[in-house]
Amino acid sequence: MQQAEEKKAAPEGITITDLDELIHEEAPGQETTPKTAEEEKVVPEKAPEESPLIDMRDIVKRFYIGTENELEVLHGICLSVHRGEFTSIVGESGSGKSTLMNLIGLLDHPTSGTYLLEGEDTGSMDDDTLSSVRGQQIGFVFQTYNLIPRMSALKNVEVPMLYARVPQAERTERAKYLLELVGMKERMLHTPDELSGGQKQRVAIARAMANDPALILADEPTGALDSTTGHMIMDLFHKLHDEAHRTIVLITHSAALAEETPRILTLSDGRIIAERRGTRC
């Protein structure tokens, strides 16, 4: 949006740690002709035979099963996300995107269908395994940040590593590195209530990367932020994608936000009704 005016060519060797640059600069604009993505390989550098990171087949989710309120929220979702992709799932409220996010994030089980994460069938995993996979393969970024109160930013970033049994020294070292990456090193000893919304979300993003997960799953990450701060956060995601080649799935109700991402899936009434490339990347 307004940052489109500020666009300029990124110099070589940009460091993601430099927050000012991170805010004001974007990867070179690739205003290519919009394509209907159905037949388009979104990430052409990926070999076609490589198994996708996320491979969901015929995922159905019903709630209140067996009661008269039984409700089918997802009607056979097929979704694949390859490594290095930045995908947004956009949908109105009630479209089932939260449910889909919970399923992608292994917070919930589908009623039917299969979900392979990194080729592993998640349906056969027990709770503990799901917890480990969640902690190590998926980095969550929430709309409401969900930082743990009374714990410093540094400690918050350490939490996923704690559950992954990373030794203390290594944990602290990596947490510091990640906070530097998101430009929060100066404030790493502050607790969440001493941080602004944007700062909290940056800590949350650092935390999401703590265990070097295969997937960053962001649920309305800018939803609680003003537009300027929201852009900073989106820029951070773009950096992570462009420079660190992170696989990111962004869940949003905002079509404008989705337009920023290379691949857009539109969810409506529990079905993916469209897939296309973002117009602004």
């Binding site: 917070l107 480990s132 969640r134 930082l147 559950y163 935390r207």
Partner: protein, 441 residues
């Protein structure tokens, strides 16, 4: 992970200091009462034991008496004098050589009198004495009530009737030798017996401690420590000879050498109660069945056991009351944990999303419950010990016995309370649905 959990729990407790303290209050009161009662109970028990041990726990007291069956209205009691004859005693010693360590015999005679030192002002330097004839075994058997401070006890050659040696109390040394025990040893004291109107000199060979007062007697209205009567022990046979002379002077039938009572000490490892029963039937069998003599063997062990059992029951009863306080405290912990977990629902959801397993969530909250309990237990333990000490010193006036087990018990109990009452809320936290928890407002 444990350290992390402790740190988290501490942070959470610190964030709600007042609430944490109020929660701990129940635990504090519970533990404090349990510990206070234990301390007082133990001190009381130790005090009782100390008093009981004046008659040693390994000792058996034996006596024989004549039981008149009433069949002869003109019975001549002088024909039925109960005594253990010398051959009975030596037979006993042979039979129970393994069980008997020593025998203590005290003369039936005893005389009161006054001791002075020749060459010193008898109005200033005097001591009221109670002359008692004992055998050397007396000191070893009764060594719990008589502690030798200086010198020695009678040697074998000093047990004869013409042996004028004695053991005196430290009180007597204070009165006659200004407390100088070293100087007192070897000195002669002159004992004037008021009963027999005889005077004899005795050489001091030993000084015993009279601090436990068991050998001190105050006669009516004596308030000055100086006037308190204390035992002077002289050889058994010497005493018997004096007694015989006294009987003769009074025209009584002399009963010298008669042993009706004696104490004996068992060798360590002997089951005293058991031996006491055996001894009783052995000695009884030494008398004719129809003689009317009844032998009685008595030992403290059974009685002490009984008394300690009663004490324990009493302590246990009051401890139960403390346990109820602890139970209430535990429920308080459970309550506050439930509140804490509800407040932290989102945190729990977040942790689960970040890879926490159910058991890790459970461990986190159980740790917090345990920490609250333990801290309460620590404070309670200190309060309990202080209360116990105050009660012992100021109310019961007994020495305090601090049992290291109290530490173990308070930590054990509070740990158990933490685990028990923390488990349910922690488990609820562990089983929270992460989606619901994350959405919780």
């Amino acid at each position: 992970m444990l350290m992390e959990n402790i740190r988290l729990a501490a942070a959470s407790m610190a964030a709600n200091k007042l609430r944490t303290f109020l929660t701990m209050l129940g635990i504090i009161i519970g533990i404090a009462s349990v510990i206070a009662i234990m301390t007082v109970g133990n001190s009381q028990m130790a005090e009782n034991r100390k008093q009981n041990s004046m008659f040693g726990i390994d000792n058996v007291s034996v006596y024989v008496y004549f039981q008149d069956d009433g069949s002869d209205p003109n019975i001549d009691y002088s024909k039925h004098i109960p005594e253990f004859k010398q051959d009975v005693l030596s037979g006993m010693c042979t039979t129970f050589a393994d069980e008997i360590e020593g025998i203590s015999v005290q003369s039936n005679y005893s005389f009161s009198g006054k001791a002075v030192v020749s060459g010193k002002d008898p109005d200033k330097y005097y001591a009221n004495v109670y002359l008692s004839g004992v055998n050397p075994g007396y000191f070893t058997v009764n060594n719990t009530s008589i502690t030798l401070q200086k010198g020695r006890i009678f040697q074998a050659k000093e047990t004869a009737a013409d042996s004028y040696v004695c053991l005196v109390s430290d009180l007597l040394v204070n009165n006659l030798f200004d407390g100088d025990m070293d100087r007192a040893l070897g000195q002669k004291i002159t004992v004037n017996l008021t009963d027999t109107e005889t005077t004899n000199d005795y050489t001091i060979i030993g000084v015993y401690s009279s601090s436990d007062y068991s050998q001190m007697f105050s006669q009516g209205g004596v308030t000055d420590m100086k006037d308190i009567q204390s035992s002077v022990f002289i050889p058994y046979l010497n005493m018997e000879a004096q007694g015989a002379a006294y009987d003769q002077s009074q025209g009584y039938t002399s009963q010298t050498g008669r042993i009706q009572f004696f104490d004996l000490r068992c060798t360590s490892g002997t089951d005293v109660s058991d031996f006491s029963t055996q001894l009783q039937s052995y000695l009884q069998s030494q008398f004719d069945a129809d003689s009317g003599f009844v032998v009685n063997c008595y030992n403290n062990a059974e009685w002490i056991k009984q008394e300690e059992e009663n004490m324990r029951k009493q302590t246990l009863t009051i401890t139960m009351i403390g346990a109820i306080a602890l139970l209430v405290g535990g429920i308080g912990v459970m309550n506050i944990m439930t509140v804490s977990i509800t407040e932290r629902t989102r945190e729990i959801g977040t942790r689960k999303a970040l890879g926490a397993k159910n058991r890790e969530i459970r461990a986190q909250f159980i740790t917090e419950a345990i920490l609250i309990s333990l801290l309460g237990g620590l404070i309670g333990m200190i309060a309990g010990v202080v209360t116990g000490v105050v009660v012992c010193r100021l109310v019961q006036h007994i020495d305090v016995v601090l049992d290291p087990r109290t530490i173990l018990i308070s930590f054990g109990l509070t740990f158990a309370v933490g685990v028990f009452f923390g488990y349910y809320p922690a488990n609820r936290a562990a089983r929270m649905d992460p989606i619901e928890a994350l959405r919780y407002e």
